[in-house]
């Protein structure tokens, strides 16, 4: 910025030239204020979503810039919520992008005193082996003298916060494995 430009931009002078003699309005406006824009305008895309907290099912608009979520707010199109959100829904941005989220697989070995890190692929393989082994150990062809074709070796809890598609695959896979102890928050 040249000296002349600087001087011309000096609000003391603009007070007289811009019709704001008291210096409390237009003349005092800074360059940053002049160029201010909501971050939603910069979004590459707006993705339609649904609030993950309670079962009201409020519509959400998710603003994304350079593969990062920059803002989440109510979707005015939703006839259920009409663009409104409660404090939890309003905190969705912090929920999804906040520092409280873990991004690393952690492992605690039997009798271990602390976490260790583990890569996802190894963890998945270990879990698959555990499932197979526990399923076998807990296998019951019969129960109370009747054909049961099931395993009592492992159980699962959760689902009310999950998608229908996820619940469907959980129920499908675990039932096919013979597991029956499959439960969720509907009872908790």
């Amino acid at each position: 910025m040249g000296v002349r430009q600087w001087i011309e931009g000096w609000p003391v002078l603009r007070q007289w030239s811009d019709g704001d003699p008291s210096g409390r309005g237009a003349a005092a406006k800074s360059r940053v204020s002049d160029e201010l824009a909501p971050r939603t305008r910069e979004a590459d895309k707006v993705v339609k979503s649904i609030c993950p907290y309670c079962a009201v099912g409020c519509g959400q608009n998710v603003y994304v810039k350079q593969d990062k979520v920059t803002q989440i707010e109510g979707d005015p199109d939703s006839p259920v919520s009409r663009g409104r959100l409660c404090p939890k829904g309003s905190a969705s941005l912090q929920l999804t992008t906040g520092s409280a989220r873990q991004h690393q697989v952690l492992y605690r070995r039997p009798h271990g005193t602390d976490w260790e890190t583990l890569d996802l692929d190894t963890a998945m393989d270990m879990i698959a082996d555990r499932v197979i082994a526990s399923r076998e150990r807990g296998w019951q062809w019969e129960a109370d003298g009747q054909r049961a074709r099931r395993t009592m070796g492992f159980a699962s809890l959760g689902g009310a916060t999950l998608d229908n598609e996820e619940n469907y695959l959980i129920k499908k896979l675990f039932t096919a494995l013979g597991a029956i102890q499959i439960e969720n928050q509907a009872r908790v």
Partner: protein
């Protein structure tokens, strides 16, 4: 009769020609459910820092009041007053000064029940109200700001410019409502901007958008005032005689608020000043007295020498 009021046009007086209508908030506390969505939505949008974990015991209010990190604040008042229709009479003809002698209020440790209204029997009600910067027509914070960081926008709102503020702190005690405050680790003063960035894009402020019951309504101030009058009439007809507006009057000490309220009790019950006045209303008088005092000093000094005679 409501629209005929002559209101000042702060944007026009601040050098904006051809500006948009003055925008503001009407907060109807009678439909507030105290959910605090406004507080969170405001923080998310404006990236306002969290304010610490402190269980205050002030009913469900754990944010206490407006400040640098709280631009929307929901007050909770538990009262032994009937849920509903009230005797409309006010009884302020007693000696408030004498009462003040007894101390002003109950401190939080004793305030599980706000002792504002002793009441009787089983009556009980729970008032909730979302407070915010008033964006005064005559804004003290803006008047006293020495740097021009605080300025009047084309929407008639009052905004701190964070690239300018030098943290002198003058605006903070100037505000008659206790809105603006300094963020200690940052040094600058912060408050509600009425989402200035969103307004420019035709979006409504984050808090008003989130509000589940439309307790916070955003729009051109003229329309809001009209709507608010209607609402008060409706409530009076329904027997809620205590409903009253606060901050809507262009003739009040701050020239009317850009964010005004519908209350069910006296303003101070919610933590509002009952009759706020912009401090700079008295500034001409202050300057006069300063001038006179300076002159007195000059005269006094002259007299001191005259009385002492010539030195050696």
């Amino acid at each position: 009769m409501t629209t005929a009021r002559e209101a000042t046009d702060p944007a026009a007086e601040s050098g904006y020609t051809d500006h948009p209508p003055r925008m503001g908030f009407f907060t109807d506390t009678t439909v507030c459910i105290g959910c605090k969505a406004c507080e969170v939505a405001c923080k998310e949008w404006n990236a306002v820092p969290a304010d610490g974990l402190d269980l205050t015991g002030m009913s469900y209010d754990n944010t206490v009041g407006l400040g640098a990190n709280t631009w929307r604040h929901v007050a909770f008042i538990e009262q032994r007053k009937p849920l509903a229709a009230q005797d409309p009479g006010l009884h302020h003809d007693t000696d408030v000064l004498a009462m003040a002698e007894h101390g002003s209020a109950t401190q939080p440790p004793e305030a599980g029940m706000t002792p504002t209204t002793p009441g009787s029997g089983d009556d009980f009600r729970w008032l909730m109200a979302s407070d915010v910067c008033k964006h005064c027509t005559h804004a003290a914070c803006l008047d006293v700001c020495p740097t021009g960081s605080l300025f009047r926008t084309e929407f008639g709102t009052v905004v701190v410019q964070e690239d300018i503020c030098n943290g002198c702190g003058y605006c903070i005690p100037a505000c008659p409502y206790g809105v603006i405050d300094q963020r200690p680790d940052d040094g600058r003063a912060w408050k509600c901007t009425l989402c200035y960035d969103r307004l420019g894009e035709g979006m409504e402020p984050a808090c008003a958008k989130a509000c589940p019951t439309d307790s916070i309504q955003f729009g051109p101030l003229d329309e809001l005032r009209e709507r608010a009058q209607q609402r008060v009439r409706q409530l009076h007809e329904a027997g809620v005689g205590e409903a009253r507006l606060y901050g809507d009057d262009p003739d009040d000490g701050v020239g009317g608020d850009g964010a005004f309220f519908l209350l069910l009790d006296e303003p101070e019950v919610y933590g509002f000043p009952p009759d706020p006045v912009v401090t700079t209303r008295d500034l001409p008088s202050m300057w006069r007295h300063v001038g006179a005092a300076a002159a007195t000093l000059l005269a006094g000094a002259a007299a001191a020498f005259l009385g002492a005679g010539k030195g050696r």
